[in-house]
C-alpha cells in the first residue's frame, strides 16, 4: 500500500458502479430541493438526472426522481441519507423494485433542407416523435420514451442538422396497482 503521508487512511475502493433510479416523496416546503441537491454535492454523490414537480398540491407533496450512479454501498448510503432528511417521507429504489417504468420527454430542434429534412421526418415517424413546430428550414420534434431511446434518436438527428435539445429528465413509476 503506497500511501503518501496523511492523517487520513487513503483507500481505493474497487466495487463496480451501478445506476439506480430513486423516487423521493418530499414535503413541498421552501428549500427542500436545495437540501436534496446539497446532500448530493456535499457528500460527493452523482446526479445523472433529476426531475422535480409538485404531485399532490393539497398535501404539499412533491416527487423527486433522481438517477444516480455509485457502488452498491454508496447507493445504499444515498437512500439512507435521503430518508433521514426531515422533509422526506419516503425513498423508493425503483431499480430494485424491478417493476418500474421510466420515461423522459425531449424536444429536439433540427435544421436543414433537402434529403436531410426528409430523412429527419422519416426517422421521427419511426420513433413516434411528433412535430410540434415547423418552418421551411427546421423542425422541433417532441419525443417520449426511456433514456436510451431518446439518446438513440438524438444520435440519429446529429448528422441531419441537430441544433439543440431540451430534456425533462427521467420520471419513474412502478407497474401494478400499488403506489409508493
Amino acid at each position: 500500500m503506497n500511501q503518501p503521508a496523511s492523517a487520513y487512511f487513503l483507500e481505493e475502493r474497487h466495487d463496480p458502479n451501478e445506476t439506480h433510479t430513486l423516487s423521493v416523496l418530499v414535503q413541498n416546503e421552501p428549500g427542500v430541493l436545495a437540501r436534496v441537491i446539497g446532500l448530493f454535492s456535499g457528500r460527493g454523490y452523482n446526479i445523472d438526472s433529476l426531475t422535480v414537480s409538485e404531485t399532490e398540491s393539497q398535501k404539499h407533496l412533491s416527487r423527486i426522481t433522481i438517477v444516480t450512479t455509485g457502488t452498491p454501498m454508496v447507493i445504499q448510503q444515498i437512500k439512507h441519507q435521503l430518508d433521514r432528511m426531515v422533509p422526506v417521507y419516503r425513498v423508493v429504489d425503483m431499480t430494485l423494485t424491478g417493476r418500474s417504468i421510466e420515461r423522459e420527454l425531449a424536444m429536439v430542434k433540427v435544421k436543414g433542407g433537402g434529403e436531410h429534412r426528409v430523412e429527419a421526418l422519416r426517422l421521427a415517424d419511426a420513433f413516434r416523435a411528433r412535430v410540434i413546430d415547423a418552418t421551411t428550414e427546421s423542425f422541433v420534434f417532441e419525443i417520449t420514451g426511456n433514456t436510451s431511446k431518446i439518446n438513440q434518436f438524438i444520435d440519429l438527428m446529429r448528422p441531419l442538422g441537430l441544433v439543440e435539445v431540451s430534456r425533462t429528465g427521467v420520471a419513474a413509476i412502478t407497474r401494478g396497482p400499488e403506489g409508493m
Binding site: M1, N2, Q3, L10, G38, Q77, H80, R84
Partner: protein
C-alpha cells in the same frame, strides 16, 4: 366573539419566542445581541424565567450550549443576531451535528422585504447552515412561528439528536399573531424516527452473542445520547454476558473505567488491548457508534474474522464504512432493554475464559505506560494527578482538541455518563473553554475542568470574561508545551520533522492573563509542585487559568499509523525513531 386584544395567546413574534422557550422548560439561554434580535432581547429583559448568559463571541455561545446539552441531556439554546452572528455560529452547529448534540439556535434576520437585498448584516442563514444542521427554518409569517419553534425542539431532541436553526426576520418579531403552546401535532409530518428495534433482528443478534467465543462490545456516544437508562442497561449487559467492553471517545463514561471488563478506549490512540480485542474478536456488538475512520484504521483489515451486530438509531450509519451482519435500527436504550430480556432467556451461555486469558496477555503490555521524570512534568502524569486529586468529587471534564484531548481520554477515568464533553467528530479547537462554561451554568456547584492545550485555549479565550461576569468557577487546566502538539506529532512522524508553523513563539503569560480577566492564575513547572497547585485550583471558587508547563516534545502513544490495521499499533516503548520511521513509511519514505 371574544375581544382579540385580550386573548392571552395574541402576542408579538418576539414574545412568542420567549414564551416557547419557557414552555419547553428552557432555563438558560446563551447569546449575543445585535440589530436583528433586539425585539427578542427586549422581551428577555422583561421576564425572569429564562436566564440569558451573555458570551463574548457567538461561537462561545454555541459551544457553551453544547456543553450544557451534553452534561444535562436537555437541548442547549442559543440566540444570535443576523449576518456575522449567524456565521459565527456555523462552527458550533457543525460540531453539534457531527457529535449528535441537541441545539436550538434562534437567529435574527433582516426584515422580510430586505431579504435578498444585500441588506446590512444580511446573510443567507438557512442556506449557509443547511449542511451543518439537522434541519432549519426561515419563518416568514408570525402565525407559523409557534409551530416552527415547537417542531424545532422536537426535531433537535428526537431520533438522532442534532442542531436546528430557526431564522426569524425582524418584522416577524415585531408582528402580532396567535401563539399556541406545544401540542402533540407539532411534529414534522414527514419525520418519524424509529425507536424500537426489530424483534427478529434482536433474536438473531442474541443467538450470535450466545455462541460467541471471542466477543467484544464496542459502545459509543449513542449510548450517552439515549439517556442514563441506556448506560445502566449497557452495564447490566456487560455484567450478564461477562463480555469485554471498549468505547469510542464519545462514549466514555457509559461503562465505568473501574469496571473489570473495561478495556479502555479504542481507535487511533486507543489501548493495545482494546484494539487487539477488536481485531481478533469473532462477534462484535456495536452499540451507538459509527465505525468512523479514527476507530477502524484501514477498513479492509478491520476486525476481519468477526460477525458484526450494529445498533443505531440512524439507518445511514449502517453499512456506511463497515459492512455489518445484523443491523438493528432503534434507540440504544430501547434495543438494549429488549436484547437483555432475550439474552437472559437464552439457555446457552458463552464460555469465554480462554478469550479473557488472551486479553490479559494484551493488557500486560501496559500500552499506556510512559517513562517517569522527576524534573519535567509529563502531560500524562499531569492528567493522572488531576484525576487522582479529583476522584470522588462531583467532576465534569471538557477538552479542547489535540494531544491533551487524547491523553485526557486515556488517563482520566470516567465512572458516569454525561461527565465528559469533547469535540469528537469535528475536532474543534476552542471547544473546551466555552463548553465548560455551559456545563458550569447547568451544574453551578460542581467542579468543571477544561483540560486544554496552549494553542486551542487561545481560540476562545475571550469567554474567560463571561466566566468572571457570571461567577462561573471553571478551571482551565492548560497542558502548556508551547506547541500545537498533535500537529507537531504528525509533522514529526509524517513530514520529516519539518515543524511548519506548529510552534507558538509568543504565548501570553497565562497567569497574568487570568489576572487581567479578574480570574485566578496558577502555574506549575516542577512535578513536585503539581499536587499542591492542583489542590489550590480545586479549592478556589473563581475561574482559574492553570498554566501547567509540560514536556515540550512528548508524543501521544499508542497509535495506529495511517493505512494500518488494529493489530499494527505502535506502542510507546517501540516508538523509537527507527520503528516510527518504518511504521509510517508505507511506500513514501520519511526523510
Amino acid at each position: 366573539m371574544s375581544d382579540k386584544s385580550h386573548d392571552p395567546n395574541q402576542m408579538t413574534g418576539a414574545a412568542m419566542i420567549v414564551r416557547a422557550l419557557i414552555d419547553h422548560g428552557v432555563q438558560h439561554l446563551f447569546g449575543y445581541p445585535g440589530g436583528a434580535v433586539l425585539p427578542i432581547y427586549d422581551e428577555i429583559f422583561q421576564q425572569s424565567e429564562v436566564e440569558h448568559i451573555l458570551v463574548r463571541h457567538e461561537q462561545g455561545a454555541g459551544h457553551a450550549a453544547e456543553g450544557y446539552a451534553r452534561s444535562t441531556g436537555k437541548p442547549g439554546v442559543v440566540l444570535v443576531t443576523s449576518g456575522p452572528g449567524a456565521t459565527n455560529m456555523v462552527t458550533p452547529l457543525a460540531d453539534a451535528l457531527m457529535d449528535s448534540i441537541p441545539l436550538v439556535c434562534i437567529t435574527g434576520q433582516v426584515p422580510t422585504h430586505l431579504i435578498g437585498n444585500d441588506a446590512f448584516q444580511e446573510c443567507d442563514t438557512v442556506g449557509i447552515t443547511r449542511p451543518c444542521t439537522k434541519h432549519n427554518w426561515l419563518v416568514r409569517d408570525v402565525n407559523d412561528l409557534a409551530k416552527v419553534l415547537h417542531e424545532a425542539f422536537y426535531v433537535a431532541t428526537s431520533g438522532r439528536p442534532g442542531p436546528v436553526v430557526v431564522d426569524v426576520p425582524k418584522d416577524v418579531q415585531f408582528a402580532t399573531g396567535t401563539y399556541h403552546p406545544p401540542r402533540k401535532s407539532d411534529v414534522h409530518v414527514s419525520y418519524t424516527p424509529r425507536v424500537k428495534g426489530d424483534a427478529a433482528q434482536i433474536r438473531k443478534a442474541v443467538a450470535m452473542l450466545a455462541s460467541a467465543k471471542r466477543p467484544v462490545i464496542y459502545s459509543g456516544g449513542g449510548v450517552i445520547n439515549s439517556g442514563p437508562e441506556a448506560s445502566k442497561l449497557l452495564r447490566e449487559l456487560v455484567e450478564v454476558t461477562g463480555f469485554p467492553i471498549t468505547s469510542t471517545l464519545m462514549g466514555l463514561g457509559a461503562y465505568p473505567a473501574t469496571g473489570k471488563n473495561w478495556l479502555g478506549m479504542l481507535g487511533m490512540h486507543g489501548t493495545y488491548e482494546a484494539n487487539m480485542t477488536m481485531h481478533d474478536c469473532d462477534v462484535m456488538l456495536c452499540v451507538g457508534a459509527r465505525f468512523d475512520d479514527r476507530i477502524t484504521g484501514r477498513t479492509d483489515a478491520f476486525s476481519p474474522g468477526s460477525k458484526k451486530i450494529h445498533i443505531d438509531i440512524d439507518p445511514s450509519s449502517i453499512n456506511k464504512n463497515i459492512r455489518v451482519d445484523v443491523p438493528i435500527i432503534g434507540d440504544c436504550g430501547n434495543v438494549l432493554g429488549d436484547l437483555l430480556q432475550v439474552f437472559k432467556a437464552e439457555t446457552k451461555k458463552p464460555d469465554i475464559k480462554a478469550w479473557w486469558q488472551q486479553i490479559a496477555q494484551w493488557r500486560a503490555r501496559n500500552s499506556l505506560s510512559y517513562r517517569k521524570n522527576n524534573d519535567i512534568i509529563l502531560p500524562q502524569y499531569a492528567i493522572q494527578r488531576l484525576f487522582e486529586l479529583t476522584r470522588g468529587k462531583d467532576t465534569y471534564i471538557t477538552t479542547e482538541v489535540g494531544q491533551h484531548q487524547m491523553w485526557a481520554a486515556q488517563f482520566f477515568g470516567f465512572e458516569e455518563p454525561h461527565r465528559w464533553m469533547t469535540s469528537g467528530g469535528l475536532g474543534t479547537m476552542g471547544y473546551g473553554l466555552p463548553a465548560a462554561l455551559g456545563v458550569q451554568v447547568a451544574h453551578p456547584d460542581s467542579l468543571v475542568i477544561d483540560i486544554a492545550g496552549d494553542a486551542s485555549v487561545q481560540m476562545t479565550m475571550q469567554e474567560m470574561s463571561t466566566a468572571v461576569q457570571y461567577e462561573l468557577p471553571i478551571k482551565i487546566f492548560i497542558l502548556n508545551n508551547q506547541y500545537m502538539g498533535m500537529v507537531r506529532q504528525w509533522q514529526q512522524l509524517l513530514h520529516g520533522n519539518r515543524l511548519s508553523h506548529s510552534y507558538s513563539e509568543a504565548l501570553p503569560d497565562f497567569v497574568k492573563l487570568a489576572d487581567a480577566y479578574g480570574a485566578v492564575g496558577i502555574q506549575a513547572i516542577k512535578p513536585g509542585d503539581l499536587d499542591g497547585a492542583i489542590k489550590e485550583m480545586i479549592k478556589v471558587r473563581k475561574p482559574v487559568l492553570f498554566d501547567c508547563r509540560v514536556a515540550a516534545l512528548e508524543n501521544c502513544f499508542p497509535m495506529i499509523p495511517s493505512g494500518k490495521a488494529h493489530n499494527e499499533m505502535l506502542l510507546p516503548e517501540e516508538a523509537n525513531d527507527e520503528a516510527t520511521a518504518t511504521a509510517f513509511a508505507g511506500g513514501k519514505a520519511l526523510v
